[in-house]
């Protein structure tokens, strides 16, 4: 029974990685940049929702919607101020360094505004836990909601990208930015939209992350952000189902490694698996191997 329990925990943790990884992978797929500040947008989202709920007594659903709005605006602002002017820069390194800068900027702003103290997050999930097998197996409401949210978000995104006009514009930009522009796609607007969606998702991820692990500090987003980045690469960066599968696999490997090998080297195991996968399949599990035509 403990194996089942570990698997469920792993899938739940993995679903959170997956939602964060979706933000990474979409931005990478379309803007061809690694948005290292993504993890910190999660933290800002969680703080916003917590402040609204405990400070202003706002209903959790409304708080999440406002939080998503704040994160969306934040995402677009970051993109306009910090990334867009560098899009034409000769080195892609410049925008990567800027992203790291934005990450530290957000952390320090949060330190100033919210302080360094750990705040316990008030869970927004009111779904009751399910008890199975005579109390041997308890699945918390947060776990259920997290897994469902992950599936819903993935399906919606896939539908959006494949079936709607702005979604197809995203695909076009990701495949060939120049050609898309010639075909009348507004590249800048499309990239902004991607950041908006990614940052909105970051808020959802932040709320789910903090509901499952209710401790909020200005550094809360940093480590899950890195793990989710790993998940995105693992699944094949740029691929939506890849990010989800990568995230869930990462969560399961992490939990099982902790349970059956050693709780001290769990992280080492996760990254060792990543190295092996990348050695065998450099583009990740679902990555497309696009041949450059000469």
């Amino acid at each position: 029974m403990s194996l089942v329990s570990y698997l469920i925990n792993g899938i739940s943790l993995g679903s959170i990685y997956a939602i964060i990884a979706l933000g990474y992978t979409m931005v990478y797929g379309i803007a061809k940049m690694l948005n290292f500040a993504h993890g910190d947008v999660i933290m800002i989202g969680a703080y916003t929702v917590l402040t609204l709920m405990t400070g202003a007594g706002v209903n959790p659903i409304v708080a999440i919607l406002i939080g998503m709005g704040v994160c969306t605006l934040l995402g677009i602002t970051i993109e306009k101020i910090a990334y867009k002017p560098l899009r034409g820069a000769s080195s892609s390194l410049a925008v990567l360094i800027t992203a790291i800068g934005v990450s530290y900027f957000l952390q320090n702003i949060a330190l100033l505004v919210f302080g360094a103290d750990t705040k316990s997050f008030v869970s927004v999930v009111s779904v009751p836990a399910i008890t199975l097998a005579n109390g041997e197996l308890i699945i918390t409401g947060t776990t259920i909601v997290t897994i469902i949210a992950c599936i819903v978000i993935m399906t919606t995104l896939m539908f959006f990208v494949n079936k709607t006009k702005p979604g197809r514009a995203m695909k076009a930009v990701s495949e060939d930015r120049g050609a898309a522009q010639l075909m009348g796609v507004n590249v800048n607007a499309t990239i902004s939209l991607t950041f908006a969606i990614g940052s909105g998702l970051a808020c959802v991820a932040g709320v789910l992350l903090c509901s499952a692990y209710p401790s909020l500090t200005p550094y809360t987003g940093a480590m899950p952000g890195i793990k989710a980045f790993v998940a995105a690469v693992f699944g094949g960066i740029g691929s939506i189902p890849g990010a989800v599968i990568g995230g869930i696999l990462l969560g399961v490997i992490e939990i099982l490694g902790k349970a059956y090998i050693s709780s001290q080297v769990a992280d080492a195991i996760v990254f060792a698996v990543l190295i092996i996968v990348l050695l065998v399949k450099p583009t990740g599990l679902f990555g497309k191997n696009i041949q450059e035509k000469v």
Partner: protein, 386 residues
Amino acid sequence: MKKLLCLGLSMILALSCFTACGGGNADAGNADATVFKIGGIGPLTGGAAAYGDAVNKGAQVAVDEINAAGGINGYQIEWKMEDDEHDAEKSVNAYNALKDWGMQMLVGTVTSAPCIAVEAEAVNDNMFLITPSGTAVDCISGANAFRLCFSDPTQGTKSAEFIGTNKIASKVAIIFDSSDPYSTGIKDAFKAEAANQGIAIVAEEAFTSDSKTDFKVQLQAAKESGAELLFLPIYYQEASLIIQQANDMGYAPKLFGCDGMDGILGVENLDLSLCEGIMFLTPFTANAEDAASQSFVKAYAEKFNNEVPIQFAADAYDAVYAIKAAAEKANVTPDMSVSDICDALAAQMTEITLTGLTGEITWDASGEPNKEPKAVVIKNGVYEAM
């Protein structure tokens, strides 16, 4: 060439400063021979300011009491605390500033890492040092240095003793932070002593500073091992997550922590009903009922705007009284040199028995205190002595 000149000049400057400091110190022992000058070093600003502030105030209460009662051997005491912002380099600067002031004994430093740096200086000067709250083993490596609180490993030993003597549990699981020497040090000592106490360690689970949010696996392992008690030699931030996740799993073991657990009731938005029954070692609680504690709490509140003293204040209070006890036994006077005072005090520290706020304390030659561990349990949202 310019660089060389620069370097040379700054060397000269540094050297001249050095001799000036040394000269000042040599005279200071005799210059102001009518008072004892006790210095304190600790963080008065920055993240750890709460600790340094409490030490400053606790020591001030002790100094005022002693002065009102006639001082040490008939001499009054002067107390001065310098800020180190919990930074080793600033701490050494604070130490030098206090030496210029004429410090003869040091209560400090408050936090471990700066204490290790300052202690190295104090050994060279043979300056008497008693740290109220530096828990790292290396804080008191020299013969001049003593400690008032328990060291990290001692906390582990004492926790095991406390659990064994009071028959709290016989099967224990440990969750510790393998990336933190504080946590690992306590865990190792706890394990060593548990064997003597008839306590079986049925699970030993770790986490690191990079993965300190998900404890479900560790808790699952503890639950399956049949542990009645979960020993948590960690800080309260992680402990607050552990108790919530254990509650989610329907796992309700007894919980026992060390001084790092102090503060768990201050975590914002935490459901305090989950904290009920948590036990941890702490030398002092403000609602202890003995007369000494009560009068200390009252004096502290009167002097400092109704503040309630924390354990650091009690540690500092006892540290000042330890100096008094040793100084009276050794019959030291303020006109002695710093080094002579240190030798005389150090010789007597192992002879005295201090009945302080944190217990009845004796010291061994290595500078470590011997006292009964005190524990508190959280009941109805407040700490209650056990």
